[in-house]
């Protein structure tokens, strides 16, 4: 019997409890309280709560418990990255950003990059939120400072700038996306050190951007609708030709985040993760195996297939 500790009983936590048996029938889930004593016999701990994860993750790591965190707050992720030495000393993996984004996006980026000889650009777009904590985090992200990696150096731009129209998988479709204070570029840069440009954007409407500097004017929904991610990887193939590969997912954000957390929890239980900090997209991970687990949990992975037309080729030879 495997014991999975779970912190957070919101939308993602609830989805983890319901979907974990699809890939780990013998698992027993115990709810962890971030402030109480860590029970013995926990094989892996999944932190799926709102708020900061670093402090609780540090306690779990010190107790020798592998940790899977769905943290998406930039400062929280930076604090978690600082726990690398402690996780290595305790010989346990600490998975940072095991939700939809960061998380699933990193795995998709690695899968696409594996089809290229060199990968120099990664661009992420996100649409939708899971529970209320996720919606509040996105609201905060739209008023912060967005980080990105551009031509070999880190840049900071005001959140809400840099509009780009992103086409997500159906039924979500096209949405205007903007820079936001997201953790994905920081994690992706560590996982893909050869890249020259990394960006992450989130969909927002005029009201979202206009009210980003205010507290949330109305309480968020219990759960957002169908969300989506879109990962675009650019690079060159073996022949030196430029290629752009796009993959994505359209799914309830809570389900996609839960599936990713479950995949990493299963990998941790099977001792497939190296000690220390683990990022979705790391070269040493069994990316295909993790994506396969995510698909088994019920998330449909999609890719965009562009068909070159004669008129476009003649216009851009």
């Amino acid at each position: 019997m495997t014991t999975v500790g779970l912190s957070g009983t919101g939308v993602v936590g609830d989805r983890i409890v319901r979907r974990l048996p699809t890939v780990m029938a013998e698992a027993d889930v115990v709810v962890l309280d971030g402030r109480s004593v860590i029970p013995s016999g926990v094989d892996v701990a999944v932190i799926a709560s709102g708020g900061h994860h670093a402090e609780f993750a540090a306690r779990l790591v010190d107790a020798g418990v592998p940790v899977v965190s769905i943290a998406d707050d930039l400062s929280d992720v930076r604090e978690l990255l600082d726990l690398d030495d402690r996780a290595r000393s305790a010989a346990v993996p600490l998975v940072i950003g095991a939700g939809m984004a960061p998380g699933l996006t990193g795995l998709l980026a690695r899968l696409l990059a594996s089809e290229l000889a060199t990968c120099d650009e990664i661009h992420i777009a996100i649409h939708g939120t899971a529970g209320p904590a996720c919606a509040r985090q996105q609201h905060r992200a739209l008023r912060g400072l967005a980080v990105g990696y551009h031509d070999g150096s880190w840049i900071q731009r005001p959140a809400g700038s840099g509009r780009e129209l992103a086409y997500f998988p159906e039924p979500v479709g096209p949405y205007d996306c903007y820079r936001a204070e997201l953790a994905s570029p920081v994690l992706l840069r560590d996982a893909f050190p050869g890249t020259e440009r990394i960006s992450a954007r989130v969909s927002a409407n005029r009201r979202d951007r206009f009210t980003a500097w205010l507290p949330m004017l109305s309480p968020p929904h219990h759960e957002g609708g169908v969300g989506a991610v879109r990962v675009e990887v650019r690079g060159s193939d073996d022949a030196g030709a430029r290629r752009t590969l796009i993959a994505g997912v359209a799914e309830l954000v809570g389900t996609a985040a839960a599936a990713t957390a479950i995949a990493f929890a299963v990998a941790a239980v099977r001792d497939e993760l190296a000690p220390g900090v683990v990022r979705a997209g790391d070269a040493g991970l069994d990316t295909v195996g993790l994506l396969d687990t995510i698909a088994q949990v019920g998330v449909r992975l999609q890719e965009f297939t562009g068909v070159p037309s004669a008129s476009r080729i003649s216009a851009n030879p």
């Binding site: 698909a295 999609q302 890719e303 562009g306 068909v307």
Partner: protein, 45 residues
């Protein structure tokens, strides 16, 4: 008076055009070729 009437008419027409573009506009050109399909994971790891 004539000038004022023309200016008001111009502002009204501008507003009308902006409203039509905002309501009916698509905000970009959708992809003309290709589409989304299920991603098949490679067999060999």
């Amino acid at each position: 008076m004539k000038f004022l009437r023309r200016a008001l008419s111009a502002i009204f027409m501008m507003g009308l055009v902006a409203t039509v573009l905002r309501v009916r506009g698509t905000g970009g050109t959708p992809p003309q070729h290709g589409g989304w399909r299920a991603l098949e994971l490679p067999e060999d790891r």
